[in-house]
Amino acid sequence: MSVSSSTLRVEVWRGGEQGGYQTFEVPRQTSQTVLDVVTYIQKHLDPTLSYRYACRVGMCGSCAMQVNGVARWTCRTHVSKVCNDNRLQLAPLSNLPIVKDLVTNMDAFFGKIIAAKGRFVGAHTRHDPMEQVKPDSPARKEADAGIECIGCAVCYSSCDVVSWRPEFLGPAALNRAWTLVNDERDIDGAARLAAVAGDAGCHSCHTQGSCTMRCPKQLAPTAAIAGLKRMTARAAMRGELEVKEVSR
């Protein structure tokens, strides 16, 4: 059976938290991505289907959803990689409230990046000379390893700790914090360590590694969180975790 002549049976989540699956038949194409399938449904079968996307090339992080029960970026996921018997099941990301169909409310996800002090705070102004950062310094290598996060929330949706402890900051926020505590230009490090310590922070992580396994950018939030655990524990034992935050 050639790919182009076959048909995909696609179950798509419709409605809010109390919704259900609706089945669509979509023509199978070569090199078809899961996002292509969703777009086909919205364009040709049901214009009321809600979903998010922007760049279509794996940069913006907006198209993530659950494909056959696994959170993925759909623009870079080929149907041929995830399809069993020409069937697909598409659902919104878990661990986030559903707005409608495949769209989730991501306030909690982005709010936690702010709560983990994921914002860079520098001491210099535009009138100061550029700071020199050695690219091969150990701290900069740690920061570089986690810097390519696109904020797609695949890790957050895959994290079991988030599902049973909703206040947990989650892998993306903690990974972001880890890149900043390793940024030598940043001056908010002590307050950031205090923000990510504790039961809602890095110490709740069970090191199951789902985030690292599912990250479409092949980042390792598990390693970042392990680094934060060590750094915050050391700071707590030295009494350095009780520092006033820098206000700018």
């Binding site: 205090a194 310590a197 039961d199 110490h203």
Partner: protein, 117 residues
């Protein structure tokens, strides 16, 4: 500053330190048992060796302390996550269990070292 976060970070530290200690103690414990029991030993023969052995009491006394600290922190986390207890209630219960383990363990060490046959 957020005191509960500081305490959580310290708990994590002590749980890891005690885990490292216990890893060493468990290896020594098992190695000695395998070596000593190789030919088969009766209860009175075992007690004959442990009675009055300060080194034995010290080893297992420290072991009991490590277990009590480690288990109480782990149980606190388990109670919070599985039974959705508050951190405070789980902390109190964890400490009580630590005390129980400490008393039971040290009593056993005392009995095997200094108790009468």
């Amino acid at each position: 500053m957020n005191q509960s976060a500081v305490k959580a970070a310290r708990r994590w530290y002590w749980q890891r330190i005690t885990a490292m200690g216990m890893a060493l103690f468990v290896v020594i414990h098992i190695a000695v048992m395998v070596y000593a029991m190789n030919g088969g030993l009766s209860a009175s023969e075992i007690l004959g060796r442990t009675q009055g052995s300060f080194l034995w009491a010290l080893f297992y006394g420290v072991f009991v302390v490590l277990v009590s600290v480690h288990a109480s922190i782990g149980l606190r986390n388990t109670l919070v996550e599985w039974l959705r207890m508050s951190g405070k209630a789980a902390g109190v219960l964890g400490n009580l269990i630590a005390l129980l383990l400490l008393v039971l363990g040290l009593r056993a060490v005392w009995a095997v070292t200094f108790g009468s046959l």
